[in-house]
Amino acid sequence: LAVCRAAVRWGALLPSPCPAAAPLRWPAWLPAACERRYSSRGKEQLDMSTYPVESIRNFSIIAHVDHGKSTLADRLLEITGTISKTDRNKQVLDKLQVERERGITVKAQSASLFYNHEGINYLLNLIDTPGHVDFSYEVSRSLSACQGVILVVDANEGIQAQTVANFYLAFEAQLSIIPVINKIDLKNADPERVEKQIEKLFDIPTDECIRISAKQGTNVEKVLQKVIEKIPPPQCSTADPLKALVFDSTFDHYRGVIANVALFGGEIAKGHKIVSAHTKKRYEVNEVGILTPNEQPTHKLYAGQVGYLIAGMKEVTEAQIGDTLFLYKRPVEPLPGFKSAKPMVFAGMYPVDQTEYNNLRSALERLTLNDSSVTVHRDSSLALGAGWRLGFLGLLHMEVFNQRLEQEYNMSVILTAPTVPYKAVLSSKKLIKEHGKDQITIINPAQFPDKLSVSEYLEPTVLGTIVTPHEYIGKIITLCQDRRAVQKDMLYIDENRVMLKYLFPLNEIVVDFYDALKSLSSGYASFDYEDAGYQPADLIKMDILLNGNPVEELATIIHNDKAYAAGKLLCERLKETIPRQLFEIAIQAAIGKKIIARETLKAYRKNVVAKCYGGDITRRMKLLKRQAEGKRLMRKIGNVEVPRDAFIRVLKRETDK
């Protein structure tokens, strides 16, 4: 799945490649060996008091996937001497296999850059942000530590869906925006067209755009100068009490939680006693420092500065993104906008082989140590065995999580098709009393309350942005209508590119929308979405029956309009995957007592191998033993045997191309 390959933020946890390295330690998850590519600023602890607020600039780079965000970051790090200049600097901040393969930033890395401009030493804090809306909350917290952004747009591709989403996040946070048109060295680069798009869509005058080639280093210095000129320094004072925003955290096996913080007031040093506004827990600071981009301890951090702190927190949930830290007995008003992570996409996860259950559990535990936004609930399916129901912030989040399990933990899992959290407004007094509230969230179809006890069902929606060459509009509009989407906006951003905005039911895009969009636009349309709350929906629970007996794990919550087609498809797929048996099998989809689709699997009338002589026996026995062994994994629905494979084939998420 490639819904906007952008920066997303959560960390892995791998055994440190160099466990004894101290005091400058690599983050534990760095996959590279102990190879030092960053120039160290000396073993001495830095005195950060030489950087007053006026000489600090805090900024992010935001971009659509592949528009050159990481390359620009590499150049900025080189120019400022943060890393030495070699041609090996490719995606320096992207360390994980999944990041390099997909060209995305999974684990955002911040870096403090030192830069002398017109005789003044500046401290430029590059705060990396996850660009995808799965992480819009994290992005908003990261952006809240910034006063400005560099908006990178590809000179060839122009504005894409994610560019739009990123722009509005920055715009709504009232940040200064420095538009940069990258890849001007490319043959098909058309910076003029892109400048016009930026003017039309974002109302930024064309002459404010900086044309660069991050790859070749062209005009990158100019970007740094603009950062200093256009982005205001943070408005805060060291004289105020400590107020620190946690905007990221990672977990290190040896040192515990490392929290990335931005100081909105006061100062912080080793030995300070601090309190989390969210958990009210008290900690003593062990270490503070800046990221260059590896951790470099400092004496102190001062208002306006960005860095890390280690304070004996044992779990990442203790350093939740958006939390405010203050000095013990010096409480402050917490920074606004704190929310706990809210999963929007759920999927069942099961080991391919049940004997792998414990290994998978340990891998999950380790991976979620660094990612408190994944919710994990134990679940078990009669067909798939023991597993978990995982909640993710979005599709990319789910995809990358799964890929990291496979790549970093060598785990092969069955991931079921994703579902979304529905809601029901209850009318039955009995149910309201039972739940203690009149609105419930339904994640599992088994919990779906009957229509008679519900005044309204609700489904989650998202506002989707599609940017496409205009020749695909017709097909895309049809696709969106098929997905029950309502058009909200349609705008030509230049002569041949259109931006469409649609309100989608979330469940209509979680499975294969992005693939469909990409394939009907030959890969040219881009898509991004943001949470748009809940809307009433005509939802029903559809059961699948085998010879009249319901199959619990195949029940689905679905929109009434989609039930017939989905029921038919499910019955057809089951007919293909359930082996013929000694009797006829009726495969039915039903809503309540009403059958809406049916397929019939005929009984075997002949199933016996024609030849079984001396040379055939060994092969024959192998097959039969496998079949007999398979009986152990058969799920019996009434008298119908359904192999685990059939469930997997029907329930499994279709992998994206």
Binding site: R580, Q581, L582, K602, Y604, R605, K606, N607, V608, V609, A610, K611, C612, Y613, G614, G615, I617, T618, R620, M621, L624, K625, Q627, A628, E629, G630, K631, R632
Partner: protein
Amino acid sequence: ALYPQWPYCRKRCSYCSFNTYVVPAVDEAAVRACLVREAQTLLRLSQVHRWVPAGGSWGPLKCPPATSHPLLYSITSVFFGGGTPSLASPHTVGAVLEAVAGAAHVPAGAEVTLEANPSSTSTSRLAGFRAAGVNRVSIGVQSLDNAELQLLGREHTAEEARKAVEGARRLFPGRTSIDLLFGLPGQSQDAWAQQLEAALGLCDDHISLYQLTLERGTALAAQVWGGALPAPPQDLLADMYQMARTVLVAAGFRHYEVSNFARKGAVSTHNLSYWRADQYIGVGPGAHGRFVPRGEGGHSREARVQTLEPIAWMREVQSQGHGTRSRAVLSLLEQLEELLTLGLRTDEGVTQERWGRFSPQLSLQHAFGAPGEARALQQQGWLVLDSGGLRCTWAGLAVLDSLLPDLLWQLQRV
């Protein structure tokens, strides 16, 4: 039972995935020498002696070891298979038979079958084989329709097949079998009925009817799976089988195995020994065997496979006397699984006596009479378990492969 494998064919048939080789020239003397040598080695290993114990075939073993098989005291049958063994010279067949008789006791009248293709079965050749000791032939007619024969990649015509069968019947009266295939791409029920009628007019007392199996790697399977030829519908195949069974039984044949029919007691002794899980020795490239290697002190039944490729096989036989590529001791459970899988293919099923010989402790009744999958299958009318043994019903035989996984699964848990 002894199975010598002749691995060569003149041409590969479109449906065949057997271990056969088409080579420009066969060094027959070398192959013969190796077949003879390997037969001698393996017969010695299995301790089939010329000497017959006094007091009947079970004489010296008053109480056979609980998990072992009865000893082979004589070679009850020889079956020359292939490949196309009728391409070998009668001299080669005779040499192997002499070696067998020289190394083991062969009762008078023991069945000696030769698989033969109509295209290499002139009356004079058949007479030569008879003189060498062959007393039964199995002729690969496959079809009596020229278009079908062409589709199957056979070298002969329907007329040649007829002639071959008639010639064989004169030389081996009552001991000539024919093979027919059904379920060919595009074959109709009517066409099959006509084939069957023609075959009844031609055949002797034994007939094998095989549903065509599309094997991976064959030209015919590629054509069907590639869509160039129609795949026969499942229901049609079932109808063809039912019709054939009915017609043959009405003609006085006993349906004694899934694909085999005989009248006047003309069953294939050799093939029955597979289905009864008797001991058998495979000789030649890729041949399979099941026997207890008592000659080297073994007490357990082993599954053995000889080296597949003829040249490599010959090298091994020349250097070490045999070309056994793999041997695996079969556990009691594996032996019972084979007995069940094979025995249920026959009309006699797995008899109490035979089961008891493999498994003196766990009776058939105990294994399959208690509530469970097997009992459910009996209640549904697919299986019968009585004092005779466990066997398929008429309906059950046609779906045996759907019954076996349940039975094996139950057996594994007993």
